[in-house]
């Protein structure tokens, strides 16, 4: 099927999407930075000079070494070491991996929930709509971060520290996904409300298709572009939420750090002058979130979806 792929590639190259991407320097730069960070995170086990999960490689004598370029630096640790003597570059690579996994995982979960509830609310209307959107309103008025903190706190208190640490990745994906589903559900619902008045939906009904088929096969594809835009921004939000939870001690344990827990563990040493343990992971976090947000802004301009503004 080479002809098909070629023509698809050609179609992509002639699309408005590609055209506007080529002309937007900020978008290109953001994409390249994001791509390199994702690749670095995916291939962390190959790229990292040390394995931060392997206790045998850690020497406590190497703790709190500064990055190269400062007095007392060791060239074996280009970004210095943390308080346990782990190579900071390696922990950051692995930490970015954890943060990205949670970010993408949480957005996949909230997209699943948001699309399902948004479609149901928008297409069925009536009581279902009223109840689902009321729940979404209440949850949003509490701010997603607050909901995540409370759910995280309850989970941590009920599972205990050790247990929570072991399943922290899944817990965080679950917590953030559940806390943020209303954002996507509202967007989907707004698009569905606009779509369901259109003729093709009537046509599908006349042809006797069932409700689920109309919802998922006919309406859903037409609501994808706003979902795409909001999901991009939500990845950035999920990464920030994860970092905030980890910083509060409700997230990843220090043995398997994310960027947030690296910042937290480094913060305890900032008064003793070891600023790099907390500020370098912090910088990585900000750059990661910033490029995703910039790409989200660009996508919004290109796709120009009818974003639901509460």
């Amino acid at each position: 099927m080479t002809t098909a792929t070629v023509s698809r590639w050609d179609r992509f190259r002639e699309s408005f999407f590609w055209y506007s991407f080529k002309r937007d320097k900020v978008a290109i730069a953001s994409f390249l930075v994001l791509l390199s960070m994702v690749l670095a995170a995916v291939f962390a086990p190959l790229l990292a000079p040390a394995d931060p999960y392997d206790l045998a490689q850690i020497n406590i004598m190497n703790s709190e070494l500064p990055p190269v370029g400062l007095d007392g630096a060791d060239p074996a640790f280009p970004l210095g070491t943390d308080a346990q003597g782990r190579d900071l570059l390696s922990t950051i690579l692995y930490g970015t991996r954890v943060s990205l996994m949670i970010g993408f995982g949480a957005v996949i979960l909230q997209a699943a929930l948001g699309i399902l509830f948004g479609l149901l609310a928008g297409y069925l209307g009536g009581k279902v709509d009223a109840i689902l959107m009321r729940v979404a309103d209440v949850q949003l008025s509490f701010s997603t971060l607050m909901v995540a903190i409370i759910v995280g706190a309850v989970f941590k208190a009920s599972f205990g520290n050790l247990m929570f640490g072991e399943i922290a990745i899944y817990m965080l994906i679950f917590i953030i996904g559940v806390a943020e589903w209303p954002q996507i559900a509202r967007t989907v619902r707004a698009s569905v409300l606009a779509e369901k008045k259109k003729e093709y939906v009537d046509a599908a009904k006349v042809m006797g298709f069932g409700t689920p088929r109309i919802m998922f096969r006919h309406i859903l594809p037409n609501t994808l572009s706003p979902i795409f835009v909001i999901a991009t921004v939500q990845i950035a939000n999920a990464i920030i939420s994860e970092a905030a939870l980890s910083f509060l001690g409700l997230g990843m344990p220090e043995t398997q750090p994310s960027l947030g827990s690296l910042i937290k563990s480094g913060f305890d040493y900032i008064q003793s002058g070891s600023w790099w343990i907390t500020l370098i992971p912090g910088l990585v976090l900000v750059v990661l979130v910033l490029v995703i947000n910039l790409l989200g802004d660009w996508l919004r301009d290109v796709m120009n979806p009818r974003l639901y503004k509460g």
Binding site: I149, I240, F247, G282, L285
Partner: protein
Amino acid sequence: MLAFLVQRVSQALLVMFVISVIAFAIQDGLGDPLQEMVGMSVSSEEREAIREELGLNDSFVVQYLRFAGSAIQGDLGNSYFYSKPALEVIAEHLPATLELVIGASLIIIVLSVPIGVYAAIRPQAWLSKFFMGVSTVGISIPVFLTAIVLIQLFSIGVTVNWFPADTGWGQWLNEFFTTEGGLPSYGRGDDLVHLFGTWESGLFTGEGLAHLVLPCVSLASIMLPLFIRLIRAEMMEVLQSDYIRYARAKGLGAGRINFLHALKNTMLPVITVGGVQLGIMVAYTILTETVFQWPGLGLMFLEAITRSDIPLIVAYLMVVGLIFVVTNTLVDLIYGLVNPTVKLTGKKA
């Protein structure tokens, strides 16, 4: 209007009911009050007897009703750690958080209105673009990271010697980037003034104010970009409207149009969104207070989690839930009062 009022208030009561059920379920699921009350030596028969006597064997509904009944009377149980009523503990920590929120709100108001208005009036000016760029970056920086950077810069201090010190410009640049530090980054200080009740205020002494600076700036930094964007967007929309065009055609001065006619209509949605955002700030106080060891509600809540102090966790949830519900309902009511055409269903986070 009456129907709207009744609808909103009953909705608020419903939400509060749901919050109390969740809070009670947490208490019911996590805590075993018996473990806190009796030692190891008590036999299982005696435990069962105490259980029966305390009503712990009653059904969930009966126990919830008892919980709700005493909650309405202001009794949310005793904190395990502080060994006094949970609400009293909250009352002691509330003023610190309130002062933090007041300080941050002042910073937000003073900065966001002029910047937002300027960016709307002159969207093409480089200064506007600069502010909008800074606010995009600002949204991407988590509040605890801002706080840490502020501590490094203004509490610990940074000495810069990147530039050659023997040249005049190098020396000047080194000095320009070097910060003194010295601002307190821990707690509220010792110099607090007793106002009334449990309110120990840091607003009236130099030391108290110095302790407020970094936490307030950090907390403000997360909301400021949102408000600048909001004010700019609303103002730009208002500036497009017919009555502004008419005022221009009439030959009114730009200052009068912008600040008297346009700003008035800009501020209405901003104030309502602002009201909701102030409630949302509670979530961010948890992060800010953790960084600065600020003895407010947020830090108390986190400590309660690490200590498994369940009555205090539950009390915090109820109080914060009440704050959210009351601010949201008030904002909705005010908005409905001022702008009857719009039925506000809720605001985005």
